[in-house]
C-alpha cells in the first residue's frame, strides 16, 4: 500500500516529492492512514495552496477491515487487502492549476479546452 501510494505521488507530482504516511481513522479500514505530499508550490515552507502547513493531503488509505471482507464474501483469515481513495478532481486541480472544483461538473468548453 505504502509503495503504491508513494509511487503514485511521485509520478504525479515529481520524483523529489516528500511523502508523509500517518495514522488516520476510517470505519472500513484498520489500520488506516492518510497520505500527504509536501506542497510543491512552496516546497513545505507554507503558502496559500497548502494553508500554511506545507503539506497537501492526497487521500485516505488502509488495510481493508475484516468485516468488509467478510461482507464481500472473502474469508479474512485467508485474504487481506489494501484500499485507498483520493479525490481525483483534487489531484487534477493541484497538477493543472484548475481554480475551482465546480468547473469539473460544468462542462464549459472554455475550461475543458484548457485541459488536455
Amino acid at each position: 500500500l505504502k509503495g503504491v501510494l508513494y509511487s503514485f505521488a511521485r509520478q504525479a507530482f515529481g520524483g523529489e516529492r516528500q511523502v508523509r504516511f500517518r495514522p488516520d481513522y476510517f470505519p472500513f479500514t484498520e489500520p488506516s492512514a492518510e497520505i500527504s505530499i509536501d506542497c510543491f508550490i512552496c516546497n513545505g515552507a507554507g503558502c496559500r495552496t497548502c494553508g500554511g502547513s506545507g503539506w497537501l493531503e492526497m487521500g485516505g488509505a488502509g488495510m481493508v477491515h475484516p468485516n468488509v471482507l467478510r461482507n464481500a464474501g472473502y474469508d479474512p483469515t485467508r485474504y487481506q487487502g489494501f484500499a485507498f481513495g483520493c479525490g481525483i478532481e483534487r489531484v487534477h486541480m493541484l497538477r493543472s492549476g484548475t481554480p475551482d472544483i465546480r468547473l469539473y461538473e460544468q462542462n464549459d468548453l472554455r475550461y475543458l479546452e484548457t485541459t488536455s
Binding site: G3, V4, E30, S32, P66, Y104, E105, L109, E113
Partner: protein, 804 residues
C-alpha cells in the same frame, strides 16, 4: 470531526513534556492525533530566538554599554550593544533579530517597535536581547530575561516559552481523547513518560434514601447514571488558574459550580450537570424519553417542543434538560443554592447526535459533541469523583453521598493477537516485546500465551474489539515510518483481458483525435427531459427508475439515454461558443422488471453550430451531415465494424436524415440530424447532429485486423449507370452488386445520382464505379464481362433495375 483546544500549560499538569511545542505537535500528528495548528497566545515573537551570550565586553566608547556577541543557532552570530548589566558569558537569553517586532520597553510596554541595525556610539548593533517587558511577559525591564540554560539555542522562542494552544481535530473512534487527560495519555504513550493522574475523590456509591433518587427509564439510551449529593455549596467565582485554563481552552468562566463542571468536562471529556437538589420535585432525577407533546424552555430561552425520541433528564414532575445536549432554563444552580445534585451520565451516542441535529443544537453544545461519540461509562465515576473533589476544595462542598445506576456494565475488552499477524499486516517484523511495550504504553494490560498476545484494553477505550485494532495501535506507536515502502511483487499474475474498457479507451482516443472534446455530466437527470427528446413528446427511452428521496428532481432519474445531457451541455456552451463538437462515454441505465437497470455503455456525440469561423480561408462553415458521416466512417473503419443492417429513421432524429444501424438484431448505432423541433426546444440550431453507439454491440462485432500483403494483380474498373424506381434505396443496389460480384468486386462507389429527361419518369439513375480484382490472376476482359453480366442480372431480378 470534533475539535478541541488543548492549552499546553494545562497538558503539562498530566504529563512531563521536554520537547519544544512544535515537536510535540509533530509527534502527536504523526501518531494519529491530528494537530490542525498551534496557536500562540500573547505576542507573536516572530524572528525571536533562544540565543547564548558567546562573548561579552565593555563598549570602548561608552561606560554604561556592553558589546554582547550572541549565538542564536545554525551558525548565526551577531553583535548587540546593550545597556543591560545582568549578562554573563554563557547566559541563555531571548534574541530578536533585525526585522523582529517587539514591545518598546521604554514606554508603557504596549507600543510595538520593529528592529533595525543601529550604530550605538560608533558600533553597529544588530537585533536586541530582550527583557520580559519587551516580550510582553511582564513589567520587568531592569535586565535581560535569563532563560533556562537547558533550552536549545536556535529554537524559536515561542516553541519553548510562553503559552501555546494545540488545536486538535479528533477522529470519531477516539472519544477518550475529547479531554486534555486523554491527550496527555497519548503524549505519555508516544514519549514513554508516565501520566500524572488528577486528584480524584474516591466516592462510596450507595443509597441516598429520600435525599436523592436516581432512575434510568430507558436503559438503551442511557447506560449509566450517577449522582453525588453535595451540601454547603457556596457559589461565586472560580479560582483564577481555573478561569485562565477555561479561557485558554475556549470557554467562558461563569461561576465556580458551572466552571468546575466545565473544567472536568474539558479535562476528562465527560460532561456533568449540577442541579439545585432542594428544587427537584420528589428529589428524583430520571433519564427518560420525552412524553408526546412535552415541551421545555432551554437555557438559551427558547421554548422547544421535544420531538419523539428525545431523551430528557427529569425530576418527579417535569423535564429539566435535554439529556447530553442542553439544560433547561429553570434547572440552573442559583446564587442561593446550597445543596447540589451533581449528575454524571453515559448515553448511547447516536441518539444524542440525532436529537442534537433535529433540534439544530449540535454545533453549540460542547457536551453533545462528546456524548454523540458514545463515551466509555467508566468515565462516570472518575468524572464525578474529580468534580466532587474540586467542589470540596473550591466551593466549600461536603459530600452527603453518591448513587450509581449501571444496569449492564460492558465486559472488559480482551483481544488475542498472534504475534505473526502483526508482520503479515504491516509488512515489517515486530517482536512480541516491541508490541507489548507499545500496547503497555497506551495503558493496555498485555499477557502472553505462546505466540499470542492477550491484550486487555484500558477501560476508557471504547474502540478496541478485534486483533486489527491492536495492530493499528502498535503501528502508530512504533511509527508508520517503520513500515517499508514496497511495490507489490510476486509471481506473475494471470493476465485477464478487459475488452470493453479497452474498446472504450480506444474510442475515447479516436474521438479526441477527430477533434472532439469529451464532457462528463451527471448520470442522474430530470425525468422531464426525456419527454423533450422527441417531436411529439413520446418517450424516447423506457421510463427510468427514480430515486425515492432525491436531493432535487433535476437529479432524480438514472438516465436511460445520454442524449438529454449532451443537449443540455450544448445549450449552455452555445451561448458563448460559435460551434460545439462534444462526446460523452457513459452507461445508459435501462430499467428492467424486478431488477436493477441494465447498464449499457454508450458513446454519444453531438455536433452543432459553426465548424469553422470566417477567416481569410473562407466564410463560416456550419456542421453538416457529412461531418457526422465522417465520424461514423472513421469509427467503423478503426474498429473494423462489418456492414450493418441499416434502417432509415430513429427516434428523436430528423426522419429523412437519420439512420439506425444494427448487427445481429442488436442496435449498433443511431445517428443523423436531430429533429429540428427537438433542437428548437433545447435552443440548438436546426442543423444539429447526434451519433449514439452501443459499446457492447460494437465489441461483439468488432473485427480483428489481419495484415495482408499488397495485391499482386492489377484491378479493372467498370462504370455502370443503374436505373431504379424513385424511392429505391441505393443501399440495396450496392448490396446487390456486392452479392453478385462476390469474389471479384472489391469496391462500389457512387459517382452520381441523376433524375431528368434522360431517365424515365419516376425513376432515378445511379452512376457507380466498380473495381474488380482477382487475388489469383490478372483479370481478362472476359472475366470482368461475366461478372458484370451476373451483376446486371441480379439487379434486374432483385430490384427491377436496368442498365443505361
Amino acid at each position: 470531526m470534533p475539535q478541541i483546544k488543548v492549552p499546553v500549560e494545562w497538558l503539562r499538569e498530566y504529563v512531563d513534556i521536554d520537547v519544544p511545542v512544535s515537536e510535540l505537535a509533530r509527534l502527536l500528528h504523526m501518531s494519529g492525533t491530528e494537530v490542525d495548528k498551534v496557536e500562540r497566545a500573547g505576542d507573536p515573537w516572530d524572528k525571536v530566538w533562544v540565543g547564548r551570550i558567546a562573548a561579552l565586553e565593555r563598549h570602548p566608547d561608552a561606560d554604561k554599554l556592553f558589546l554582547a556577541t550572541v549565538d542564536y543557532g545554525l551558525g548565526r552570530i551577531k553583535t548587540v550593544v546593550t545597556g543591560a548589566t545582568n549578562l554573563v558569558v554563557g547566559a541563555v537569553v531571548p534574541y530578536a533579530e533585525t526585522g523582529a517586532t517587539v514591545r518598546d520597553g521604554h514606554g508603557d510596554g504596549i507600543a510595538m517597535m520593529t528592529l533595525e541595525p543601529r550604530k550605538m556610539r560608533g558600533i553597529l548593533s544588530e537585533g536586541m536581547v530582550l527583557s520580559a517587558k519587551e516580550l510582553g511577559l511582564g513589567a520587568d525591564h531592569e535586565g535581560i530575561l535569563l532563560l533556562d540554560a537547558a533550552l536549545p539555542v536556535g529554537a524559536a522562542l515561542g516553541d519553548v516559552l510562553g503559552e501555546s494552544v494545540l488545536h486538535i481535530e479528533l477522529q470519531p473512534n477516539r472519544p477518550d481523547c475529547m479531554g486534555i487527560l486523554g491527550i496527555a495519555r497519548e503524549v505519555a504513550a508516544i514519549t514513554g513518560r508516565a501520566v500524572h493522574e488528577p486528584a480524584v475523590d474516591a466516592l462510596e456509591f450507595g443509597s441516598l434514601g429520600d435525599a436523592l433518587t436516581i432512575r434510568i427509564e430507558d436503559e438503551t439510551a442511557c447506560t449509566r447514571f450517577a449522582a453525588a449529593l453535595l451540601t454547603g455549596v457556596r457559589t461565586g467565582p472560580s479560582p483564577e488558574w481555573m478561569q485562565r485554563r477555561l479561557q485558554a481552552a475556549g470557554m467562558r468562566a461563569i461561576d465556580v459550580i458551572v466552571d468546575i463542571t466545565n473544567y472536568v468536562m474539558l479535562e476528562l471529556g465527560q460532561p456533568l450537570h449540577g442541579y439545585d437538589a432542594d428544587r427537584l420535585a420528589g428529589r428524583t432525577l430520571a433519564a427518560r424519553q420525552a412524553a408526546i407533546g412535552e415541551r421545555l424552555r432551554t437555557l438559551d430561552g427558547v421554548d422547544r417542543a421535544l420531538p419523539a425520541g428525545t431523551l430528557v433528564i427529569a425530576d418527579g414532575r417535569r423535564a429539566l434538560g435535554i439529556a447530553g445536549i442542553l439544560g433547561g432554563e429553570d434547572s440552573e444552580i442559583r446564587p442561593d443554592t446550597t445543596t447540589v445534585a451533581l449528575e454524571c451520565a453515559s448515553f448511547e451516542g447516536r441518539g444524542i447526535g440525532r436529537t442534537a441535529t433535529t433540534l439544530g443544537l449540535g454545533a453549540q453544545s460542547t457536551a453533545s459533541r462528546r456524548f454523540a461519540l458514545t463515551l466509555s461509562p467508566e468515565l462516570v465515576p472518575l468524572a464525578l469523583g474529580r468534580a466532587v473533589r474540586l467542589l470540596r476544595e473550591h466551593a466549600g462542598a461536603s459530600v452527603a453521598g453518591a448513587v450509581d445506576v449501571h444496569p449492564q456494565p460492558r465486559p472488559v475488552a480482551t483481544v488475542r493477537l498472534p504475534v505473526a499477524d502483526i508482520a503479515r499486516v504491516l509488512g515489517v517484523g515486530t517482536t512480541a516485546e516491541e508490541a507489548t511495550d507499545a500496547l503497555s504504553r497506551l495503558g493496555f494490560g498485555v499477557g502472553r500465551a505462546g505466540d499470542v498476545l492477550v491484550a486487555t484494553a484500558p477501560p476508557l477505550r471504547t474502540d478496541i474489539a478485534i486483533p486489527e485494532d491492536l495492530i493499528e495501535e502498535i503501528a502508530r506507536i512504533t511509527g508508520y515510518d517503520r513500515i517499508p515502502t514496497r511495490i507489490p511483487d510476486g509471481p506473475l499474475p494471470v493476465h485477464e483481458p478487459h475488452p470493453l474498457p479497452e474498446l472504450r479507451e480506444r474510442v475515447r482516443d479516436l474521438l479526441v483525435g477527430f477533434g472532439l472534446t469529451e464532457t462528463v455530466s451527471y448520470s442522474l437527470i430530470d425525468p422531464a427531459w426525456l419527454a423533450q427528446l422527441t417531436a411529439d413528446g413520446s418517450p424516447i427511452a423506457p421510463a427510468p427508475l427514480c430515486v425515492q428521496n432525491p436531493t432535487s428532481t433535476a437529479q432524480s432519474a438514472p438516465r436511460p439515454t445520454l442524449r438529454a445531457s449532451l443537449l443540455d451541455t450544448a445549450r449552455h456552451n452555445l451561448r458563448h461558443e460559435p460551434g460545439i463538437a462534444i462526446f460523452e462515454i457513459a452507461p445508459a441505465y435501462l430499467p428492467r422488471v424486478a431488477d436493477l437497470p441494465e447498464e449499457r455503455w454508450t458513446v454519444a456525440i453531438l455536433l452543432a453550430g459553426k465548424a469553422e469561423t470566417a477567416s481569410w480561408l473562407g466564410p463560416d462553415r456550419l456542421y453538416g451531415l457529412p461531418d457526422a458521416a465522417a465520424i461514423m466512417d472513421g469509427l467503423t473503419r478503426a474498429v473494423r465494424l462489418p456492414r450493418p443492417t441499416r434502417v432509415p429513421g430513429a427516434a428523436g432524429l430528423h426522419p429523412g436524415r437519420s439512420e439506425t444501424r444494427s448487427a445481429d438484431d442488436q442496435t449498433l448505432a443511431v445517428w443523423g440530424q436531430l429533429d429540428p423541433s427537438v433542437a428548437a426546444r433545447w435552443d440548438l440550431p436546426a442543423e444539429s447532429f447526434v451519433i449514439e453507439l452501443d459499446l457492447a454491440t460494437m465489441l461483439s462485432c468488432a473485427g480483428r485486423g489481419a495484415a495482408s500483403a499488397p495485391p499482386r494483380y492489377p484491378a479493372a474498373l467498370r462504370d455502370l449507370a443503374i436505373v431504379v424506381e424513385d424511392g429505391q434505396a441505393y443501399d440495396d443496389v450496392q448490396q446487390a452488386i456486392l452479392d453478385a460480384g462476390k469474389g471479384l468486386v472489391i469496391s462500389v462507389a457512387l459517382l452520381d445520382r441523376y433524375r431528368g429527361p434522360q431517365v424515365a419518369a419516376g425513376h432515378t439513375s445511379y452512376a457507380v464505379r466498380l473495381v474488380f480484382r482477382s487475388p489469383d490472376a490478372t483479370l481478362t476482359d472476359a472475366d470482368v464481362d461475366r461478372s458484370v453480366k451476373r451483376i446486371t442480372g441480379k439487379l434486374l431480378h432483385q430490384l427491377g433495375a436496368t442498365i443505361r
